[in-house]
């Protein structure tokens, strides 16, 4: 039994929804379907969810919201007309929106309610269309699906008791179409997950129903080995482990938010990332374990916006507790750090730039000066982090040699190397300006046909 989740672009219009229907029809084990709100149809289109947010703010600020409401209804009508299904759904949607607009509840709660209309309507439309083409399908409200959550508007957390309720979905006849993105609190309030929450719903249902597979349909054939902005038509990743996925997402792989997958990971449900527009493509499987292959590097991820704070103090490494005190200051100031490379008399802390406002910087540096009386403290911004990711990296002689050689070949200076903790990644810090050359060089090294693991060993031998 499979849970299939379809993203915004997959339900953006009738044409896309028909593709979704074909996909569901083609495999009877796709028993649970989760849908997002209608996404963009063209690059500068507006997502349904954004229209609904606009509507809510207009209402809450006593501005005229009719035009916005019209936009929303027109868009739903278009889809419904093109699918040739009953207008009764359109009225249903309209009534739901009107009801939420009149709700006398907290602004946050009202926002959640209105935001949910996008996914909720998609689910109603898709289930109606599936019935229309003769499938046994039904719309299942998250409450009936058993999705009960904490009452944190915009950031709902699933309540553990939900899982046993969700498992009952298996008993339902035909295809259950569940709207993503929201659930209900114990006292029956509608609460949404964080943005992108349809992925969360999908993973929750996959894990709750103990599905054999969680299919995540997007608009890409698969996860790429490297960011396509740096390398044209990069190779696909066919199989990824959860760990690899985590490390890749960390450094800016944005196919979907990795944390959304956690419920599936925890139940070890395999995940398949597929393309609604090309369902026959194998896609990328994300699994808990995979066989070792010669190609131990699966992907190269990178992200910018890092910052490094460097402190040096003579005889630092004789001072028990120095590192802890330094990290303590970061914690006090609410800055979560990423890495802490340390020498003998010096230590650096690498963290996300956006946490470091000029005021924060002043406070942190003053505290370090006064509380730790260091010899020097300095801050370096505009760092990029590059991650070479793959299971079994740590036992593969020569990977570090290949990677560092590629940086050298690209004329890129390495500010930082962090290897040895994670078993699945090797981390490099470089200047953001060098990122593109670095990635291109690494890609050549690890993913073009010439590349092979023995090489750097050989080339090193030649150097003797």
């Amino acid at each position: 039994m499979k849970v299939a989740k379809f993203g915004g672009s997959s339900v953006a219009n009738a044409t896309q929804i028909k593709k979704v229907a074909d996909i569901i029809k083609s495999d009877s084990s796709r028993k649970v379907v989760v849908v997002s709100a209608p996404g963009k149809r063209f690059s500068d289109d507006v997502k349904m969810t954004d229209l609904l947010i606009e509507l809510c703010y207009a209402k809450q600020n006593d501005q005229d919201y009719d035009t916005c409401l019209q936009k929303i209804m027109t868009r739903f009508q278009e889809i419904i007309d093109d699918l040739g299904i009953s207008h009764y759904i359109l009225e249903d949607i309209q009534q739901t929106i009107e009801k939420y607009l009149q709700f006398d509840i907290s602004p946050m709660a009202q926002l959640d309610a209105l935001k949910s209309v996008g996914e909720d309507s998609s689910a109603k439309i898709v289930s109606a269309y599936l019935e229309h083409i003769g499938l046994d399908a039904s719309y299942v409200n998250p409450k009936d699906a058993g999705i009960f959550v904490s009452n944190e508007p915009g950031n709902a957390q699933l309540l553990p008791e939900s899982f046993s309720l969700i498992y009952k979905l298996r008993e339902r006849e035909g295809v259950s179409v569940v709207p993503g993105f929201f659930g209900y609190s114990a006292d029956d309030d509608l609460v949404t997950f964080s943005r992108g929450g349809s992925d969360i719903t999908g993973a929750i249902l996959a894990s709750g129903t103990k599905a054999d597979l969680y299919e995540n349909f997007t608009d890409v054939d698969s996860v790429f080995t490297v960011n396509p902005n740096f390398v044209k038509n990069p190779k696909d990743i066919t199989v990824l482990t959860y760990k690899e996925m985590r490390e890749l997402s960390y450094a800016g792989f944005s196919v979907f938010h990795d944390e959304a997958l956690i419920p599936a990971f925890k139940e070890q449900i395999p995940v398949c990332i597929k393309n609604t527009n090309n369902p026959d493509a194998p896609g990328t499987m994300v699994v808990s374990e995979k066989k070792a292959t010669d190609q131990c590097v699966v992907g190269i991820a990178s992200d910018v916006g890092f910052c490094s704070l460097y402190v040096s103090k003579f005889l630092m490494n004789r001072e028990v507790g120095f590192g802890r005190k330094l990290l303590n200051i970061f914690e006090d100031e609410g800055i979560s750090f990423e890495h802490t490379p340390s020498g003998i008399d010096d230590m650096s802390v690498i963290f996300r730039d956006n946490q470091f406002t000029p005021e924060k910087e002043k406070v942190v540096i003053d505290r370090i000066r006064h509380e730790l009386n260091v010899d020097t403290v300095s801050v370096h911004r505009d760092l990029a982090v590059v991650m070479v990711v793959g299971e079994g990296l740590e036992n593969t002689i020569g990977v570090a040699a290949k990677a560092t050689a590629s940086f050298a070949q690209a004329g890129v200076n390495i500010d930082m190397i962090n290897q040895g903790s994670s078993e699945v990644s090797m981390m490099f810090g470089i200047h953001a300006v060098d990122l593109e050359q670095a990635i291109q060089s690494l890609y050549k090294e690890f993913f073009t046909d010439e590349s092979n693991l023995e090489f750097s060993a050989v080339s090193a031998k030649e150097q003797q």
Copy 2:
């Protein structure tokens, strides 16, 4: 004006002391001389200091100590006879020892007093011999030299007020010969420095007198680029910065204890390591700053006996304070760590093995399990640390590539790379069993004529 310190082998017998005298005679700016106790004359000889310790313990345990005392006196007599200087000194030494043996003070204080006789006698003998050959020289007791210290037997710390007193040494006529290794407390107790304390005395006097140069005479021509146990006749290091020295000593470079040099470092007194048996050899200069050269790697140091503790916890990097809490446990348990490489969901702590008894290990691991509820925690012993050291490393493209290529070429797997904090070193963690091959390969790479910085970049280019 120079301060010259001569180690144990330089005053082990008359022949050596004559070399010392020639060295002092040959340069009138050598105004302050510090001497150690007579060291070994042949490999299984016993150092004077060890004889004195034996003597003290015999006395304190009411055993017969005449034979031991005899050994000591015979050895001094041999030196004095061979130098042809007055026996008055021999009686003086004997009286001093007798006096200390009868001292009614704490055993620790008595041990300090007796230990000091080695250096004290060397100073008396050397100054007498210098006068004997017609130099204006005099023995200067540490008290008269102004060396006042804290009253911590065997671990004296210099009192700041000493420096102004020591400066007065400059005013003395002729050559002042000061015994190393000890000073006096405010209430006139004789207290020794930690073992190897003659280096400390030398550095203190060089800094106190604001000497132009501190010469540290040993029995090697210079500091080697790599441990001679791994590489036959390795190249010499001609110039080293203090920082480079620190990093090299940290990882097992044992020419002398780096901390002994700190007083000289702090006053930026240049240090020259020279060979008493080959004084014309240029030796190794240790300076605060040096010009950048093409050869940015000055040395390769290594040390064994490291241990790594690995913890992994899903979503660790979302948990503010995790790293701090982990290091906190180490601090509580009094374990000082060296490095903390961290991934996204995992972190390692590298520290010296000897701090980690089986009991300690149990406590630490239990605490980590219960207080941090991690997913996994494991300990890996028998690690070696290899440091590639050189000022300006961090700005030199390709050094990491060369280093990692050498490891690969030697078939050595790199468990850990830590680069990016220290500006003068790059640190690698490997299995201790691989150390010799690794060092030999690195030496070839960085110090044999074929080696040049561009190479790995080129070899990388060839790979494209």
